[in-house]
Symmetry: C2
Subunit: 230 residues, 2 copies
DNA sequence: GACGTTCAGTGAACGCCGTTCACTTTGTAC
DNA sequence: GTACAAAGTGAACGGCGTTCACTGAACGTC
């Protein structure tokens, strides 16, 4: 029985030379690289130990604490580095859209694709919420908050130009986002579920959300009160 | 800084007397009770250690291994005990419905409520998927599979009586379920998100899924091919 | 070129964890 | 009374995150 974390260092310590004076930050990047590689090899946060990361870099475990106060911060940094362009990627996807509703459709696809391409990071960032440290952050420092703000804006746009029913854009955005989040989460975690082809699932979720947004001649089935929020 | 797991045994060992011959199973239930209590106090699987469970029961840590081969099995048993009536609760919710579409609405609400009332267990069961052990289970042994099968049947019913657009019931059910799952997951994990009142969110998600299901005079915006699946 | 400082990093330890195993205690059947 | 099996113990193993006193090299200064 093999354990990926126990695999001897593929980049052994012999190769690493101590940083020169003033180059201490070099280690920080090396650590992030090693942690990221280890994470995607092992697939879960628990499988990535500080000792294993250190060994792969070719450094003692204590050295990691020169740059990260604890393991949580290290994993956090890894994930944030991976999600640096999350919001902009999603927003860019909307760029080539024909109309605001189409923009939302493209954003939805981009969100799901991004999540499925970075499963370990998505899991850690969005599912691991250590209530003590994460959940107590101010809302605007939460992981996908900038991406969410864009979604709210886009939903508002769609309503402004009459492409979507008038409703509370915040509430609608919560619905859209949780639906996207649900599909990413479920597909990541429950690998053995007999998922239909991913494109079909994306279509199903995104389209049904959009149908909900823009219901045509039938008119709204229910009136929602419009509210303003941050 | 206090650690709930380190709290001294509120049911100290003095009170427990060794089981009589043939009563070994007694310990099993006591362990499950203690683990469940600890889990809901601490809120995460990691916070529940075998030693802490044992201490609370008033027994050595090794004794737990007489009834559970490892920690995973213990947590699994705790969660399954909590979710024993998951499927039936959800199905019961549909019982009093006026029509098949209303039945789906009530099931959705029941699903979300059940999840929000058992957050730790929902997290472990649905989010912790240890790929090595869980994900490789045969599909019909996955946690909520019986509940999902009911959903597929109900969606099929709605289509049969003409209450919903004709489509692939399996695919539609995946969409409905992932949406419900998304909202439960997100609300459990991201506590500090400025959630709208839970009833509004439930309405938003469930209704938009149902609007997608039953689109009236406008007719289907897109045709889906109908497929059959186990 | 010796000196002190400071940066970059080490090695051993602490207390926790899941798990194992040789062992004891206890009740019962013969 | 004795043998046996069930019920449970205690100490240990290796791994974990983290801390802390310490070291060796590089640099500015005299």
């Amino acid at each position: 029985m093999q354990n990926a974390a126990a695999t001897p260092n593929p980049n052994p310590s012999a190769s690493r030379t101590r940083s020169r004076r003033g180059e201490g930050e070099r280690l920080r990047d090396e650590v992030l690289d090693a942690a990221e590689a280890l994470l995607s090899e092992v697939g879960s946060e628990d499988g990535v130990s500080m000792r294993a990361v250190a060994q792969r870099v070719g450094v003692s475990a204590a050295a990691l604490y020169l740059h990260f106060p604890d393991k949580f911060s290290l994993m956090d940094a890894v994930c944030h580095r991976g999600f640096e362009h999350f919001a902009s990627t999603i927003d860019a996807a909307a760029g080539s859209a024909a109309d605001p509703l189409d923009a939302l459709r493209r954003m939805g696809r981009a969100y799901i694709e991004f999540g499925l391409e970075n499963p370990e990071k998505y899991k850690i960032l969005m599912l691991q919420g250590d209530p003590e440290r994460y959940a107590s952050l101010p809302p605007d420092e939460m992981p996908g908050m900038d991406a969410f703000a864009m979604l709210v804006r886009r939903v508002g746009d769609a309503m402004d130009v009459g492409a979507a029913r008038v409703a509370d854009p915040f509430l609608v955005s919560v619905g859209v986002w949780t639906a996207l989040h649900g599909i990413v989460t479920a597909m990541i975690v429950m690998e053995s579920f007999p998922w239909p082809p991913v494109d079909q699932v994306i279509d199903q979720v995104v389209e049904s959300q959009l149908r909900g947004l823009a219901d045509g001649p039938g008119g709204p089935r229910r009136t929602k009160k419009v509210a303003n929020r941050g």
